[in-house]
């Protein structure tokens, strides 16, 4: 079977959807030459009216996309740097997201915001290394963080087809992931439905995006010690697949979440809150996150120290296995 890379999967989804629907177009900075490779080949294939290279004016082109969506189109914006989302938070959270309710359902705003290279990019320091998916989930914007190439393809397709604004975070750490894929089986993946990335019976580890790889590695390591780890990948941060999560935790009764966002009010905090409200746990759950208020420092060792990693996850899993009674 051919190998499909995560980044190529995003590129393929965008191209397939542009071919299928003439209302889909992509806009953003340096997308004609495909600076991030997300739009590779699309300019030659679809031309300048459908691959719209924009000046550096994030606020205007983000609202421009909202206007185009109100006129019936399905824009996809590529942001080259995750921190640019802070610049356009108003345009997404306060404009695009609110239009439908504020107009009493008179309109739809089917804009997709894609961020290929979210999170730490190793050596890009404070203003290029954010991973702000929790912010968008908090305000209720549909928020997607795919972990695998097939999911990157299927979730981006669903995001573009969705009639609401959707932010798709493609973590930098996942872009290079490749998997064997039968291209004929690539299909849309519904928003709000998680998956079991690895089955297990002793503890559920919730992981998103590139952290799914880390969770699987930790699960492998613990398997050697006779511990059975289930890895649950929610795929979409919002809406969250609470039922899928509940089904997993009902089997394992132990829970750890690894989350590449800041601790307070982050995605990890939400998962633990759901657990406290709904689940009968055998041990207090734990979360592995960036520290509160974290800004990624430049030096490699410092960058790594701020990100949630395998060692912390290993310690957290061992912690929930040894506390709160027998497994």
């Amino acid at each position: 079977m051919p190998k499909l890379s995560y980044l190529k999967a995003l590129n393929r989804a965008l191209g397939d959807e542009m071919a299928a629907d003439s209302d889909v177009f992509v806009l953003g900075e340096d997308i004609r030459v495909a600076a991030s490779n997300l739009t590779a080949g699309l300019f030659d294939r679809f031309g300048p009216e459908r691959v719209l290279d924009t000046p550096l004016s994030e606020q205007a082109f983000t609202n421009f996309a909202t206007g185009a969506a109100l006129a019936g189109m399905r824009p996809v914006i590529e942001f080259q740097i995750p921190s640019l989302l802070f610049l356009v938070f108003e345009q997404i959270a306060n404009q695009a997201h609110k239009f439908s309710l504020m107009t009493g359902g008179q309109c739809k705003v089917p804009v997709t915001y894609v961020v290929p290279g979210s999170g730490s990019r190793t050596g890009w320091a404070g203003q290029h290394s954010d991973h702000p998916y929790s912010l968008f989930a908090h305000v209720g914007v549909k928020t997607v963080v795919p972990a695998t190439p097939a999911d990157a393809y299927g979730l981006l397709l669903s995001a573009i087809r969705d009639d609401d604004p959707v932010v798709v975070f493609a973590p930098s750490g996942a872009l290079g992931v490749r998997e064997d894929v039968d291209f004929s089986t690539l299909a849309p993946v519904p928003l709000g439905v998680g998956r079991i990335a690895r089955s297990g019976s002793d503890v559920t580890v919730v992981a998103l995006g590139h952290l799914v790889q880390d969770a699987l590695a930790v699960a492998d390591e613990l398997a050697g010690e006779g511990v059975s780890v289930e890895v649950f990948d929610p795929r979409t941060v919002y809406p969250l697949d609470v039922e899928g999560l509940a089904a997993s935790v009902a089997r394992t009764r132990r829970l750890v979440v690894i989350d590449d966002s800041n601790r307070t009010s982050g995605f990890g905090a939400e998962v633990l809150a759901v657990a406290a409200e709904r689940f009968d746990l055998a041990a207090p759950p734990r979360r592995v996150t960036r520290p509160d208020g974290a800004v990624l420092p430049f030096a490699l060792a410092l960058d790594r120290a701020v990100q949630p990693g395998r060692d912390q996850l290993l310690a957290a899993v061992r912690g929930v296995l040894t506390s709160g009674g027998h497994r």
Binding site: P55, Q59, N63, G67, A71, P75, Q95, L101, T103
Partner: protein
């Protein structure tokens, strides 16, 4: 568009606003409004130059634009009163009034935000082969918002059929233009290569003439035009202002503004009996509209988050 039609529009907006202020005082409208009194000629003149399928985006001071574009005043009153029969089913209120069927893409409460929305919408219609023009209304305060200047750049670069209509009423809330805008307002648009004109915003016929030329230019594919309409806000920034007892304008300044009341400027062009007939027609229309709105149902609290998402989702 006749002189009578233009008079009907300015008179309708004026009397709608005066009645809305009364509804704020009586508590039928909660939260207050931003009155457009004194600025009616801009909305009337601009919208008179548009086709029904042309688009507008409006501001937090948007009642005039929405009425001039043709909404049913009963549904507008009902929206201000938060009723289910309102334009937005009571979900938007004064600052978000929208009617997509009439090309009204919504009043917008974030100053300067809608310039780029109008630009995107106009661009999209052109791409779909329609010769639709979009107008974005904004105040002088918006001229200091970076995202509006970014929109000028996109519109000019891509020859988008959009009109930027600046209602320069002299104040951004209480901040006078002279204390806020360095250089000139039209100079900022011209810097992007956009033809920019300063016009008398108190005379509906002058506004109509200038807008007609700009619309023709846009439809001919020549891109955006910028109109600075010099106007006066003759009431408060917000109905709360009277209670807050803000003081930032002299009586002489207000009096000078009232001497150029657009309702009187346009009314003077009509025969007395024609003007009286329009006044009576407007009163009857607004009486009926207010009655319909007051008699409309309030939304069901259980539906508070209806319309949040296009697709039904189970949200916790």
């Amino acid at each position: 568009m006749t002189s009578v039609d233009l008079y009907r529009t300015v008179r309708l907006i004026r009397r709608f606003e005066e009645r809305a202020i009364e509804f704020v005082r009586s508590g039928e409208i909660v939260g207050g409004i931003h009155p457009y009194i004194g600025e009616e000629a801009v909305a009337a003149g601009v919208c008179a130059a548009l086709r029904p399928d042309d688009l507008i985006t409006s501001t937090h001071r948007g009642h005039g634009h929405v009425l001039a574009k043709g909404v049913n005043p009963a549904r507008m009153f009902a929206e201000l009163m938060g009723r289910e029969s309102g334009l937005n089913k009571g979900r938007g209120g004064s600052m978000h009034a929208a009617d997509f069927g009439l090309g009204i893409l919504g009043a917008n409460a974030i100053v300067g935000a809608a310039g780029s929305i109008a630009t995107g919408a106009a661009w999209a219609h052109r791409r779909r082969g329609r010769d639709v023009v979009a107008v974005s209304f904004f105040g002088d305060g918006a001229m200091n918002e970076g995202m509006l200047l970014e929109a000028f750049n996109l519109a000019a670069l891509w020859h988008v059929p959009v009109l930027f209509v600046c209602e320069n009423n002299g104040y951004a809330t209480t901040m006078p233009v002279a204390g806020a805008v360095a250089g000139s307002i039209t100079g900022r648009a011209r810097a992007f290569g956009i033809p920019a004109f300063t016009i008398d915003g108190q005379d509906p016929e002058k506004v109509l003439a200038a807008t007609t030329a700009a619309v023709q230019r846009a439809r001919a594919g020549k891109g955006p035009t910028f109109l600075e309409c010099l106007t006066h806000r003759l009431d408060a920034h917000h109905t709360f202002e009277h209670r807050a007892r803000l003081s930032y304008r002299s009586a002489e300044e207000l009096s000078a503004g009232w001497s150029r009341d657009p309702v009187e400027i346009q009314g003077a062009r009509l025969a007395a009996e024609d003007r009286a007939a329009v006044d009576a027609e407007v009163e009857a229309l607004l009486d009926a509209a207010a009655g319909i709105a007051l008699g409309s149902a309030h939304p069901d609290p259980a539906a508070a988050l209806e319309y949040l998402y296009a697709s039904p989702e189970v949200m916790r």
